[in-house]
Structures are given as structure tokens and as C-alpha cells.
Amino acid sequence: MQERHQFARLAQNFFTRFFESDLLSPQADYRATLSQALGLLASPGLFIPLLLMPLLMMDPNAARSWPIKLIFVFLSMLVMGVLSILEWDALTLDRRDQSILMALPVRPRTIFAAKFWALAQFMLIFSVDVNAGSILMLPPLEMVDKRTAGLLELLRYGGAHAAGTIGASALIFLFVVAVQATLMNVFKPRWFRRISTGIQVVSILSLLAALFFFPAVMDQIPLWKQQNSAMFRLFPPAWYVALCEVLQGTADAQFQALARTGLYALAGTGAWAVAAYALAYGRYTRASLEIPAKAAGKPASERRERHPAVGYLLGRLIPNPLERATFRFTLKTMRQSSRHRLILAAYVGTGLAIVLEEIVTLSFRGGDAWRQAREMALLSLPLVISFFLLSGMRFVFNIPSELPANWVFQITERAGKSAYLPGVRKCMSLVVVAPLALVVLPVYALLFGPAIAMAHAAYCSLLSLIMIEALLWRLEKVPFTCSYAPGKAPVVALLCGYWLAFMAYTDFMVLIESNVLRSRLATVTCLALLGGALWALTAYRRRPHGETTALVFHEEPEPVVRTLDLMA
């Protein structure tokens, strides 16, 4: 009885921990975070059936066709994959859990079972949430022309679709848990922590790349099925589409075999996750508690020490101490915080995936028109990277790192944002603009010749610097030092804004560049105009009283009830 009570209490605690965040504004409620997350994750599943509705209403056979179901199964795996990777740290018991629970008379098996139960709850809730839209909307569309079909058949169709999509979500979630637990068994805790970030980054990049390559896969997949190709048999979303088809009554032997594969994979991955997790649990619990003592006891010679030349060089390049402090702090935090690196990787991954997809697609096409399109895609590559890297950096600046420690910035505040932001600008230039120019020069010299390479490097650098100015225009905080109230900007407006800015920054600017590059005079004029625009922006920012706004350290969440402030 006592153990059951402990289990229930612990499971509840572990479940709420998935939505806890030290970076949120103290006023931000975790339930608000949960509902926002649920809403955000459910939206693709709702919007895609809505977008497809006109097509599917006209042709119910299309709704019944398995490639349409493949979209939803793939989407469900993708969203759950990203979510599991983002929750990587919460999947295991951390040091805080261990230090608290080890001192209490709770059996390890109770803790383990409670944690696993919380994981199962999390998996189930989000699997259902991600797929709710398609589970509810697709079956009626499939049956639009079946006038005699009753409620039972509708439920059977819905159930089959739910089994396929939720099964796919569960597979990827369990796979992430199993991989993590296996790594915990293989590596020592310190190494596990180190490689965890790398794995998270690579996984996010892979999932995003998969998203952008999916349309190309969709083109090929009917052919793969026809040929019974290994590509089809080894493509996990196909297993769960097959499961859905089998439950809806198909007699296709190929689908029946794939559905079996899907069920075996789910059972096997589940067993692997439980076994690896159980094995890792005891070992990791003991070892991770010993880490801090070992780290503190390491001899001084083994620890990272900055070369004096770096300090000297930095002092010369950034003589203002406030700028230098902000520069160093921004750089260091981005380097050390796995959470920030992960978000940044997601941004860069999106950029890379877009460019790679475009280049790969264009490389299969011949002809002059495609050659020109390929060249434009190649020219846009640095701008796409710069766009996603810079906007990613701007986004992560909003997310605090060790928020309670920001008192040191508050207590040492000496001036408005004008004193701090130049350090941030320099950091963004060093991380993005300088490496980009250094890579563009040799690569484009090989591809298009030295003159175009130099012009392109200058063009990309100037545009990136202008973008930095634009991105920091309304920043009123030292990066990572202000609390974060999520959900203040409407997601749809934000995505539209990003899309428009992306099109303007890459496609439109590359179109201009490709025309300008034909004449030397036009190139010089264009670069001069960009330089002038950058100078004008900088001069406007530096005007007297231009950036006198005080720094912000606390972001207010959206009020539950918005008032008109008539009494103010």
C-alpha cells in the first residue's frame, strides 16, 4: 500500500517535471506551458487535413490511398522524434532526483517504475495529441462517398488510423529512450553527458533533413512499393501505414508483412528500452552522484586555461570592458549551454536541409534553365546559412541561462543597452560573418572564379551585417539574462514573418545579385549601396540618445485578462 502511494506520488512528480523549466518567467505557469505545447504539437495534424480537404472531398479514393496516410504517419514520427530529443534530459533521473530520492526510504524499483510510468504517460498523451487532428478528420474524409457506412465502420477506420500513427510515435519515442539508456550503459556519466549534446544536435539535424527530403521520398515511394524494394521495407513509416491498411481490411500481402514488421519493431524496441533502462538505472545512479567530487578534485593542470595571447588579442580588438564582457559571456554561454546549442542546431539544420534539398533536386535535372537555377541555389547557400544562424542566435538570446545568476548584471549595470549590445554584435559577426566570408572565398573561387567569389563574400558579409543590425534593433537585454515568457508572439504571424524575411533575404537578394554580377560596375554600385545602408543604420543607432533604453531583466508574461488601462 505504502509502495503504491509512493509510486503514484513519484509518477506525478516525474510527469510534471517534463514541463518544468528554470528559464521561464516566475509568473509563467507550467500548465500554460503544457497547453501551449499541446496546442503547438497538435496544429500540424489539424492543419494538414484542412489543407488537403478540398482535394480529398473531390476524390475520396485519394483520402483512402496509403501515400496520404504516409504523410500523417511520417509527421507523427517526426514531431515525436523532435519532442523526445528536446526532452532528452528529462527522460532519465537527474542528479537532483537522485540526491533527494536516495536519502528516502523508497525502493529503487518504485522509483524506476514511477519514472517509466511517467515516460509512458508522456508518450501516450503527446502521441494522441500530435495525431488527434488526423485521427478525427481523416476517417470521415475516407468515407465521404460510402453512404451506407455506419458509425462502427467510422470507428474502425479511426481506430486503424490511430493505431498506425500512435504506433509510429511510440516507436520513435521508445527508440530514443532505448538509445539513451544504451549509451548510459556504455559510457561513464561524464562522457555520457558530453556525447548527449552531440547526439541531440545530430538527431535534430537528421530529423529536419528528413522533413525536407520527404517530398522527394513521396515521389518515389509508390515505385518502391511496386518493386518491393528494400527501401520500402526498411522505411519505418511504411510499417505503420501498412498496419493502418491491414486494420482497415486490406488483403495486400506486402502490407501484411510490413504491419507484422511494425508490431515486432514496436515490441522489440519497447523491450530494448525497458531492459537497457533497468540496467543503466542502478549503475548510473551510483556513478553520477560521484561526479562533482571527482571534478573538484582534478589537478589544476588538467583544467581549461585560456592562453594569455587570447586575452591580449581580445583586449586589443574590443578595448571597451563592458563590450568585452558581453562578447565573452555571449560566446561562452552559447558554447557551454547544451539547450542553446540544440536550438541553434535546429535553426541551422533547417537552413542546411532547405539548401541541400534544393541542390540535390536540381542536380538531377539537366538543361540551361536548370543550370541557372542550380547556380542561384549555390549562390543562396551562404545567405540561407547566415539567415538561419543569425535568426537562431537572436532567438536563443531570449532564452535565459541560469536565470537566478543574472543579479550580477543587475548589480553592475552601468548604462543602457548601448553599452552592452556592441559586444553582442561583435560576437554575432565573429561567429557568423567572419567564418562565412572565409569559407565563401575559396569555395566560390573554385566554383565561379576569384572575382565572383570576392564579390559574393562581400555581398553576403554586408547583408549579414545589415541583418545583425535589424535583429538587434529591438533587443533590450543582455543575451541569456532575462526571463522568458513563451507564447507572447502569435505563432502563425511569427512563421509568416520568418517566411517573408527568408524569401526577401535569400531568393530576392540572390536574384538581385545574379543580375548585378554580370557587370563589374553594377557589382561595385550594389556593394556600395549595401555598405551605405549599413553605415546609415549604424549612424542612426549611434545618434545621441539612440540606444539609451535601460536593460530588461524580467519579461512579463501575457496577462490572463487584458485590461484597457483606463485608470493609468
Partner: protein, 256 residues
């Protein structure tokens, strides 16, 4: 004479008054001890004195001027050790102090020498390039103390400064407080360590339920309450129950 004057300061959270009409003055050459039980409003007062929180009513004056008139100039003269050792744990001790020094606009050459010297004197030399996440509580506290002293401030506000320090470091800190006071710094020290307060502080302010219940020199407070020690005065003023009885009741409840 430069003074730090807290004048009728109140801090309200809705209807709750965390600090209620608190007034006292901190003078140079006289370390002021700020005492009170948990939840009495000490840290809230200290946050208002450091400019981190605005008072609901009342003012904090430095040299007769409201600190909020030129908060930045005031903060430049202030050294502060907060109650909680919140530090950027991914930075090394050396990097953190470098960051604080740069935020204080200290020139880089002398800053590096100062940081190295301080770390050596606080016995953190061999840990200076280890991340703060690996530091013990006492080591973090030392980093906070060094960070507060780096810019040679005129005003020093310590909130539980010796919490977690080992005996040697605590003794060194006690001597340091005396030296700072001799040099004419304005020093306010909030602590639960009555021995530290009694040995170093010339004046004492006792806070209870957000209100000042006693203030003056330690001798004055002792004589006024006709008590032999500061501990007895403190117990008399702020202990709402008989201490021995409470301890006995806790023990009884444990066994229940």
C-alpha cells in the same frame, strides 16, 4: 560624512508588508549588523538597499541623495554578496571574476592581477580554472565575496556572508570586515551568526515581522533590554515562544 540612510522604507506585496517603515543609518567606521529571524524581511530590505528592488514607499539615501536618482552611479560604488550563491556555473571561477571585473569596467591588466591575487588569498588558486559547477558551497561563497571586493567599493552589503565558509575563511572574513570598517567603508552585514555580529559590528538593527524592534550600538541594545548578551536580546525580542518549550514540543511531535 558619507552615510547610507534607510528612511521609512516599506515593501508591500499586495496587502502583505514584507518590510514595514524601516529606518536606520549605516555610517563609515561602524559595521552595521542586520539581524532578524527567517522571513523577517532582511533580504528584502537588502535588495532595496542594493537597488535590485524599488521600495513601495520610503527612500534609501546615499550621501543624502536618493539612490534611485542615479542608480548606476550608486551601483558602481556598491559591493554586494547575496544570500544565495547564484553564479554562472559553466564559467570557471577565474572567468566569472573576469566577467564581473569587466562589467565593473576595470582595466584588464590590473584586473587579471587582482583576480589572481584574490583567488590565491582565498585559497582558490588551484581551482580557478575549474567550472563553478564543481565548487563546494564555501568555494562559491568565496567567489561571491571576491566579486564584491574587486572594484574596491565604498559601500559593502553582505547578506549571510559566512554561510558555508570553513572556519579559517570565516575568521579571515571577520578580520576583513574590521579592516574594511577601519578604512572608512560603509558596511552592512546581515547574518544569523550572532558571534560574528557581536565581535565585528559597532551597531545593530534587529528586524521582526518587517519592523525594526531594536537598533543602536550593541552595548546600547544590551543595556536597554537589560540582557547580558546579544543572543539573549535577540531571543527576547524576536522569539515568539519559549525556545526550550518549542524544542521540547518538536521532540514530542517527532515521537508522536
Amino acid at each position: 560624512m558619507r552615510t547610507l540612510e534607510i528612511r521609512h522604507v516599506t515593501k508591500s506585496y499586495g496587502r502583505l508588508k514584507a518590510v514595514n517603515d524601516v529606518s536606520f543609518t549605516v555610517r563609515p567606521h561602524a559595521v552595521c549588523g542586520y539581524l532578524g529571524p527567517n522571513g523577517s524581511g532582511k533580504s528584502t530590505t537588502i535588495k532595496m538597499i542594493t537597488g535590485l528592488l524599488p521600495p513601495s514607499t520610503g527612500t534609501v539615501l546615499y550621501n543624502g541623495q536618493d539612490i534611485r536618482d542615479d542608480l548606476i552611479a550608486y551601483k558602481a560604488r556598491l559591493g554586494y554578496v547575496p544570500e544565495e550563491p547564484h553564479l554562472y556555473s559553466y564559467l570557471t571561477g577565474w572567468e566569472y571574476l573576469q566577467l564581473v571585473g569587466e562589467l565593473r569596467c576595470l582595466p584588464s591588466g590590473p584586473l587579471e592581477k587582482k583576480v589572481d591575487g584574490m583567488l590565491r588569498l582565498f585559497s582558490l588558486d588551484s581551482y580557478k580554472h575549474a567550472p563553478i559547477s564543481s565548487y563546494s558551497k564555501g568555494m562559491r561563497q568565496k567567489i561571491l565575496i571576491i566579486a564584491a571586493l574587486l572594484h574596491n567599493p565604498q559601500i559593502l552589503v553582505f547578506d549571510e556572508p559566512i554561510s558555508g565558509l570553513d572556519i579559517t575563511a570565516a575568521l579571515i572574513f571577520r578580520e576583513l570586515l574590521a579592516d574594511l570598517s577601519r578604512e572608512g567603508k560603509i558596511v552592512l552585514c546581515s547574518s544569523h551568526e550572532l558571534a560574528l555580529v557581536e565581535s565585528v559590528c559597532a551597531e545593530v538593527v534587529i528586524l521582526h515581522h518587517g519592523k525594526v524592534v531594536a537598533s543602536g550600538s550593541i552595548d546600547e541594545v544590551r543595556q536597554l533590554r537589560q540582557m547580558p548578551s546579544l543572543e539573549a536580546v535577540f531571543s527576547d525580542l524576536v522569539a515568539s515562544e519559549n525556545i526550550e518549550n518549542t524544542a521540547a514540543n518538536i521532540f514530542e511531535l517527532m515521537e508522536a
